[in-house]
């Protein structure tokens, strides 16, 4: 069933034409060239990201052979998304925090709520329109409950290695050959004790309501998982696509069920599925299905672009001697293109910006992947894919 579906996707991707014309501001989609440009920018600004060749037999000819997909390894994930117990209100707050830096005007909060609302609407309409049909979906609450139960069991068993309740997800310890050889080497005074499970202080700010079962049992324990995150280009949807491979704190690969713990409840089992990674002959990875990416990116880019245009205009007015664009670039990392000016609400300036669009460049397509990562961060809230805020 799923294999068949993957094949259909592959054929469909093969048949669909390569997008030639840049339209990233109009509908959030990008061309392969723009994907490479945005990827180059990402790897330049944030060297944790690198280009990879991938499997030679899976090379996409519309991308340079040495720039098939982007990868960053060992992305930390301190907590399970299921432990965050998001409500809609929280999610809005999260989005506001992740985009706007520094003091924010209250008008912006509305805009972000708007974005979120818009996204909900597109999801629904897309579902009605029938494009959602080809996504493997859960039907009915019964299955959903089963998954929730499975996850609840997992978070307990994850702490205490083996648990009889979920034998199929934890490696059966009986299978490990009984060959511990403590006499293989003597204790060594110069070897530091391994801290495989880092101990942190009890997060005092946690509300009792959001503490999940695992935390309640083991308040001092943080299960630091790491993820390898890949971004490939999806020719059919003309957007980047994210793939995840996870490891637990002992370096053991995570099972699909465990990976779903790190994906916000809105998306786990719906838009995130385990599929063969398109640049590898055999590797399976969790992937965020890209069917919604373009519409979400369009919304986000619209806001970003308005603010960037606004900022560039402001620069132009302030310093007519030095070119606004140049000085912005010189300021480098600190000056984020979408850090809003608190003066003036966006709505007032937009009409002006529209009139002078020929003069100011607006958001460059290079930033596409940086913005895209912020969007992905909302799907996987506890995986720190968005390293861009820490710089």
């Amino acid at each position: 069933m799923q294999a068949l579906q993957s094949h259909i996707f592959a054929v469909r991707e093969y048949l669909s034409p390569v997008l030639k014309e840049s339209k990233f501001k109009e509908h959030g989609r990008i061309t392969p060239e723009e994907f490479v440009a945005a990827g180059d920018f990402l790897t330049y600004k944030f060297p944790v990201w690198t280009w990879e060749k991938g499997d030679a037999s899976k090379t996409r000819e519309y991308l340079p052979s040495d720039k098939q997909y982007l990868v960053t390894r060992g992305v930390p994930c301190l907590r399970r998304a299921t432990s965050l117990a998001y409500t809609d209100a929280d999610e809005d707050a999260e989005r506001l925090l992740s985009f706007a830096e520094g003091p924010t005007a209250s008008g912006e909060a509305d805009e972000w709520v708007e974005t979120h609302a818009g996204r909900k609407a597109t999801q629904d309409s897309a579902g009605n329109a029938g494009t959602i049909d080809d996504i493997p979906d859960l039907d009915g609450e019964k299955d959903g409950d089963a998954v929730t139960r499975g996850l609840a069991g997992l978070s307990v068993s994850g702490n205490q290695s083996a648990s009889a309740e979920v034998p199929e997800v934890t490696p059966d310890l009986d299978d490990i050959p009984d060959m511990e050889e403590e006499d293989l080497e003597d204790g060594d005074e110069a070897t530091a004790a391994i801290t495989a499970k880092p101990v942190a202080l009890v997060p005092a700010t946690l509300k009792p309501g959001v503490v999940n079962q695992a935390d309640a049992l083991n308040p001092n324990l943080l299960q630091v998982r790491t993820y390898d995150v890949m971004i490939s280009y999806d020719k059919y949807y003309q957007t980047p696509r994210v793939w995840l491979i996870g490891f637990d704190e002992n370096g053991t690969p995570l099972t699909p069920t465990q990976i779903f713990q790190d994906i916000s409840a809105d998306h786990a089992n719906k838009t995130v599925t385990i599929e063969p990674f398109i640049h590898s002959a055999s590797l399976q990875a969790a992937s965020v299905h890209p069917c919604k990416h373009a519409s979400v990116m369009k919304k986000v880019i619209e806001r970003m672009n308005n603010s960037v245009v606004e900022e560039q205009l402001a620069h132009r007015k302030l310093s007519s001697s030095t070119s606004g664009k140049d000085s912005k670039e010189k300021e480098g990392k600190k000056k984020w293109p979408f850090s809003r000016k608190s003066s003036g609400t966006g709505k007032d300036v937009v009409p002006q910006a529209g009139g002078e669009d020929e003069e100011v460049e607006g958001m460059r397509v290079d930033f596409y992947l940086v913005v895209f990562l912020k969007f992905i961060a909302s799907i996987v809230p506890t995986i720190e894919v968005d390293s861009t805020t820490s710089f």
Partner: protein
């Protein structure tokens, strides 16, 4: 003075490594269980700030292998990362795996490292690992055990009273940035030497030590290495063999060694350098001839239970077609 405690490597095996091993076993190795050379890589120690508690949490000291580990001439040009050579030995049956003479295998690898040190003075084998595996291909289960041989110094290295301090207390930000840029241009970036004259710093390879310090023969040696540990008080495993190397080849110069634990993958924009600096020394250094005999080595990796034993990777959930089909519906 406290003894220097080194943070041991923990292995991180990418699923692609098992895929590649499976392919190799079926198509190339077949029934042979000869050792195969592979490569691993490690990066500068990473830590992450917990958004909820605000604490900085050091991540594991990982040595990772992936599908590219089998490529002979794979160049991994990522910033702040280094190579480790290794040997993988895959057994045909679980009985063979259990019965393997681990001590002999381990000593064999340790001898390789030591011979490389005393004969060629090459640092490329200093971080060398051994991996023994048994691949249960039908069940998608992989049993494995890593060893990272490191020589034990008797007496042990000690750190002076100042302990491990931030590198920015020893070097100016400009000097550190200069080290960063120069260090990217040298051939073997895992280990390097630092020489400072006034405000200027120069970076060189460890192999060229005598030449490098020929101007100032009496000044203490300063070595740097890509430190996979992010722990504030424990330098990473690679330093162990580097110190053994220096002590074996330059016993008169290494009563006291200045160590730069390089932990910055890029120049920090906040000026907050993560690299550490410390001065380590060996108390009452023995006679010169004592230093050239091979010391004993340690380094078998412990399993998640903290015992010396093999680990198991169960890839059935990600590889078994039936399990995948169940999960997808």
């Amino acid at each position: 003075m406290p003894i220097v405690q080194f943070a041991p490597f923990t292995s991180l095996v990418q699923p692609s490594f098992w895929h590649e091993l499976t392919r190799l076993k079926i198509d190339v190795l077949k029934l042979s269980d000869d050792a195969v050379p592979i490569r691993g890589s490690y990066t500068t120690g990473r830590s992450v700030v917990d958004r909820e508690s605000g604490q900085e949490i050091a991540l594991g000291c990982n040595l990772s292998v992936g599908s590219e580990s089998f490529e002979k001439d794979h160049k991994h040009d990522r910033l702040g990362s280094a190579h480790a050579s290794g040997t993988v030995k895959n057994y045909n049956t679980i009985e063979d795996f259990k019965a393997a003479d681990k001590t002999a295998l381990f000593n064999g690898e340790a001898d390789k490292i030591w011979n490389q040190i005393v004969t060629t003075r090459d640092t490329s084998l200093l971080t060398h690992f051994l991996l023994i595996t048994f691949a249960d291909l039908k069940k998608y289960k992989y049993y494995y055990w890593f060893a990272f041989p490191a020589f034990v110094s008797k007496p042990a290295w000690e750190i002076d009273e100042a302990g491990w301090t931030s590198a920015s207390t020893e070097y100016t930000p400009e000097a550190l940035a200069s080290i960063y840029t120069q260090h990217r241009n040298i051939d073997a970036p895992s280990f390097f030497l630092v020489r400072s004259s006034g405000a200027e710093v120069t970076v060189g390879t460890v192999e060229s030590l005598e030449e490098f310090y020929s101007q100032t023969p009496d000044s203490p040696i300063t070595v740097g290495f890509i430190d996979p540990s992010a722990n504030p008080t424990n330098p990473g495993w690679p330093l162990r063999n580097l110190l053994a190397y220096l002590h074996a080849l330059y016993p008169t110069k290494t009563h006291s060694v200045r160590v730069l634990c390089w932990r910055d993958a890029e120049i920090p924009s906040t000026g907050n350098w993560k690299s550490k600096f410390g001065t380590v020394s060996v108390p009452n250094t023995e006679s010169v001839e004592g230093a050239t005999t091979k010391p004993s080595a340690v380094g078998w990796e412990k399993n998640p239970q903290g015992k010396l034993g093999p680990r198991v990777a169960d890839l059935a959930p990600m590889m078994d077609p039936t399990r995948l089909a169940n999960q997808a519906v």
